[in-house]
Amino acid sequence: MSEFTAPEVAKENIYWATIKNSRGLLITILLLAILPFIIALVDGQPFSELLSNDPGQSKFYQALMIEIFILAVYAISYDLIFGITGMISFGHAMFFGVGAYVTGIMFKSFGWSLLPTIGLVILAGIVNALIFGIVLPRVKGITWALVTLGIAEVFFIVIQSRELVDFAGAEIGLQGVTPPEYLNPVTERLRFYYLAMIFMILVYIFYKRFVNSPTGRVCIANRENENRAIMLGYNTFWYKLTALIISSVTAGLAGALHAIFHPIIRPDIAGLSFTIAALLMVLIGGVGTLSGALIGAATFRLLSFGLDRYLGGSSQIIIGIVYVGIVLYLPFGIVGTWNQRSVRRKEGREQLLRMFTGSKEKKQDENEE
């Protein structure tokens, strides 16, 4: 009874498994890193022009990719509280909006430089998470979702108020933010591209590690069955708050990047529709998969970009239909469904192999008999 053996799977070297499982990530990093050059090659633009940020197809698509990187960070931060920790928030856009507006206002009205601003964004993100978390011990589930909606709507109204027009620019949005020269999205686009890309990848790796840490596992337990987690002795409040803080800070940093990248910070980014966008991106990619959020963000942005370009105003209808299709036929999202079927794909491959090689073995068996 006291003797037991752990299955081999569990004993597999963790480091080796991590590297093996990171193949996809490494390939993605490589592809993203050479993407501007590939586009320049296709466009016939010399690399010297590309490196000096001359206009061209590559520069145009870099901007699109930067938007995707920012959206991806925003989406993954939503996946942490929605897909991993199991809390539905309707106020997530506020996390993003706070980051964007703090950056914009500090740059424009107070003339702060980049680093102190980033520090303030992180601080604001923590405070923001605490505001959302303050009611967590009392309300759960959909009630908490409505509380977050309320808090976020207050912020949405405040940034559009007439009284703050000098700072936040009311409903037109915050204009005239001058980014630091070395991060100018127009003249230093390639550098901005790599910065946004590295930022996204670092966030992804950090999230991945967090989810696989003891704390992250408790967050998953909270999603699976909060009462059980409490009964086991976990004070789930702290875990939910931790997830909220991490999520809020990363979303805030994405917002800061957004504020530097875009000439106008529109109040829409703090509204409910932007929260729904996060939800959509996570649903498209696969809830609780992390990498799904990145793929969802790319799908989301590329779909609206492509369809807007060819269909103009009527593209919304098509986009809506595509979303319905995704939810109907890929209920677990792109990555979620892929993971689910990977077992069956493996079986299929083995079957194929057997069809070619197995016939020989069979004959041998018969001979032996």
């Binding site: 009874m1 037991f4 752990a6 299955p7 799977v9 569990a10 963790i14 991590t18 950090f206 590690r209 967090f210 696989n212 840490s213 003891p214 704390t215 992250g216 596992r217 408790v218 998953i220 337990a221 699976e224 069955n225 009462n227 059980r228 987690a229 409490i230 009964m231 086991l232 002795g233 976990y234 004070n235 789930t236 702290w238 931790t242």
Partner: protein, 258 residues
Amino acid sequence: MENNIILESIKLRKEFGALVAVANVSIKVKANTIHSIIGPNGAGKTTYFNLLSGNLEPTSGRVIFKGRDITNLPLYRTAHLGIGRSFQITNIFPNLTVLENVRLASQALGKDNFKFIRDYRHFEQYEHRAYEVINQVGLTERALSQAISLPHGDKRKLELGMILAPDPELLLLDEPTAGMAAEEVPEIMELIQKVQKSGKKTVMLVEHNMNVVMSISDYISVMHQGQILAEGTPSEIASNEVVQSAYLGGLYSDLQVS
């Protein structure tokens, strides 16, 4: 003698409006015993159990665990004192593996819960403990399958394993055999008995099926309409006429004797 009492309820009372579900119940549970609470449907067993485990707040009365008042402790604190609880409704993490379910249970009382970066598989002591417990409850074969895919009986075993993982002193079990096929019941009861004997644990069992607990209990308290009708060893209870009439319909028309 007093030192032997591990759990005590003092005049525990719960009212739901005009209904008195539990009326001033005082029970003393001796350490290292299996103490069962039985009674017909609607006797207030589960309400009483929820008062003990902290899921319900009593109208009045106190719960003492090892000389400490735990009546108003937050639910998660109780586990840290060494009390494991399982409920009538199976309560597991459905989409995680059996191993991960038990591993999380053994991690709960450790000191590594707020480590953000390091991979959870590096904290081997929890996984080690998890395998030990999985082996103990007889789920080694299914350690890597998803909890939701287990048959019902195995889910109950898993739940028992999750309670055992932090090595509690006191197990509170509310109908551990609820919903199980009749032939599976003896197996889980033997398991409970074995666990209790091997680890010097105290088990408090709420059951509604009398036959199940007769053989393994050291003490039995019979509940009826929110009150304790009789207390004693199984043989005393079996020969108690009041209890017989309570079950057979003298006091209560319920044919729950199986």
